[in-house]
């Protein structure tokens, strides 16, 4: 198991992303969906990166996903696993893999959402292996 916990710097919300971080504070991960073309995107923004529409709305994520890629940063005070996780909603997000053996992480592994506190800011969405689901 991982030993010491990495400290997460605080994200800095702005008017465009305030709802995302407020929801994070309540343990909910929000995505943005375009009302015009229907596409879900990440990271969230006011304007749809696919069709350019300004009509985007927040939608909750299920919290399940699959590891797309990862790397364990060995040259850090506390080694940590950065990753791209593909959510069940279809978007791939940058995150960390936590609460697990860093040497046992594999691409394709099922993961589930877990929020981690930050230093003086809202918590950030990270993921941990979902032992009940195995490798997809």
């Amino acid at each position: 198991m991982a030993s010491a916990e990495r400290k997460f710097p605080a994200p800095l919300p702005n008017p465009e992303t305030k709802p995302f971080w407020e929801a994070a504070g309540e343990g909910r991960l929000l995505l943005k969906r375009c009302r015009s073309c229907g596409e879900v995107h990440y990271y969230p923004r006011a304007h749809c990166p696919f069709c350019g529409s300004g009509e985007t709305e927040w939608q909750p994520a299920s919290g399940g996903g699959t590891i797309y890629s990862y790397s364990v940063m060995r040259r850090a005070e506390v080694p940590y696993a950065i990753a791209y996780v593909t959510l069940d909603e279809g978007v791939t997000m940058m995150t960390n893999l936590v609460d697990c053996d860093l040497d046992a992480i594999r691409i394709g592994q099922r993961v589930r959402l877990v929020f981690k506190p930050t230093e003086g800011g809202p918590p950030v969405p990270t993921f941990t292996p979902d032992e009940s689901r195995g490798i997809r």
Partner: protein, 389 residues
């Protein structure tokens, strides 16, 4: 409008220093500018276009034309990270073709070693206004682990191995042994690369480029100016540039922007990868080279590992000699921006002025490629094709 045949690279200069404790940043810019102009047989009074990027101090071109005392009628400070200087050659050729200038000076300089910068292993915060920062910075994205995630996915999808990646470093080290200025001059083996300490899986220390101070400069001129100079003429045949990013969450780390910048440059030059005699490929990491070679069409997608293995990139023995100065992996990566030295070594090859031990025979057509930013998040690829006339 095409730039093909409209501009020539007349002057090159690579600063010999790799650690510049006793020089200022502006001073380094002026030193490389002077070097490239002398190489071309021109003076600063001839310069009427100036190009620089994010490494420039202060207000970029405003600060540096002031410091160097340049009187120009065209400036361009397009910033695309380490690919900037490859891209600037194309932009300079466009400006020359449009009559905006006839002698364009491009400079790069930096002193990350002297400043003790944690170049590849510390996350960089580009400020709260950068739309991506709040969704990425808390997770510790560094230069190394972003490229490492590309390598990890490439290995997963195509079976690429650490040993195959190591061959890229081995080839670079074979070339660097002949470069008296190279930071790392020892020839290394595949075994030594994979046995070096892990930085961010699957990238080892020897999969990473060097951190160096110094810089370089280029002088790009019109045909009229090139005709009255005594140096061998290196013609700009084609240029392409393309950004690639996370595509709204449709992330695909298996390819780079070279899949777009390459065809644009090859199309403009009206040549194919099979025509190219020498390549300078941006080598921030071994994976950068492997993916770029695939994306430019030197081998099929996913076959990069097999292509680079067994010394295929070593000049004199391999089919596609690359980075004969030792590249960023062994020679020089000034200011953490390798694009400038990529163009410089390609011009040396085309002039026949590379080290005799690495000079490619009948090197008439060469390619330089830059990757700026981060392959794992957002980057700009720039491809340049040059010909000896």
């Amino acid at each position: 409008m095409t730039i093909s045949g409209k501009a020539y690279i007349a002057g090159i200069y690579e600063h010999p220093t790799r650690k510049a404790d006793d020089k200022s940043l502006a001073q380094l810019h002026a030193e490389v500018a002077k070097g490239a102009l002398e190489d071309a047989g021109l003076s600063k009074r001839d310069v009427d276009g100036y190009f620089c990027a994010g490494d420039a101090p202060g207000l970029g071109p405003l600060s540096l034309v002031d410091y160097m005392g340049l009187k120009v009628r065209h400036v361009d400070a397009t910033e695309t990270g380490g690919s900037s200087y490859v891209l600037h050659v194309g932009h300079a050729a466009e400006a020359i073709a449009a009559g905006k200038c006839s002698v364009a000076l491009i400079t790069l300089a930096g002193r990350p070693r002297a400043e003790g910068m944690a170049t590849g292993t510390a996350p960089r915060n580009y400020g709260a206004a950068a739309p991506d920062v709040q969704f990425e910075y808390p997770f510790g994205p560094t230069v190394v682990n972003m490229y490492a995630m590309c390598a990890m996915r490439h290995m997963y999808e195509y079976g690429t191995t650490s040993q195959q990646l190591a061959w890229i470093k081995v080839a670079a080290s074979h070339h660097a042994q002949h470069n008296p200025h190279a930071l790392l001059r020892d020839v290394v083996t595949v075994e030594e690369v994979v046995a070096s300490p892990m930085i961010a899986d699957p990238l080892h220390r020897l999969d990473c480029c060097v951190i160096t101070d110094g810089g370089g400069a280029l002088v790009v001129v019109s045909l009229d100016v090139a005709k009255r100079l005594s140096r061998p003429r290196v013609k700009v045949r084609g240029a392409g540039e393309a950004p690639k990013h996370q595509m709204g969450g449709k992330v695909d780390l298996t390819y780079s922007g070279a899949v777009w910048s390459g065809p644009a440059a090859f199309g403009e030059a009206a040549v194919t990868p099979a025509d190219i005699k020498y390549v300078s490929i941006y080598d921030s990491f071994t994976i950068t080279v492997l993916m770029t070679l695939e994306d430019l069409g030197f081998c099929a997608k996913g076959q990069g590992g097999k292509f680079v293995a067994d010394g295929n990139l070593i000049s004199g023995t391999g089919k596609l000699p690359f980075n004969t100065d030792g590249g960023g992996l062994c020679n020089n990566h000034p200011a953490n921006r390798g694009g400038m030295t990529k163009v410089i070594e390609a011009v040396r090859q085309l002039r026949g002025e590379a080290h005799p031990k690495v000079q490619v025979k009948n090197c008439g057509l060469a390619l330089a490629h830059g990757t700026g930013g981060s392959l794992g998040t957002r980057h700009v690829s720039a491809t340049l094709i040059m010909e000896r006339e």
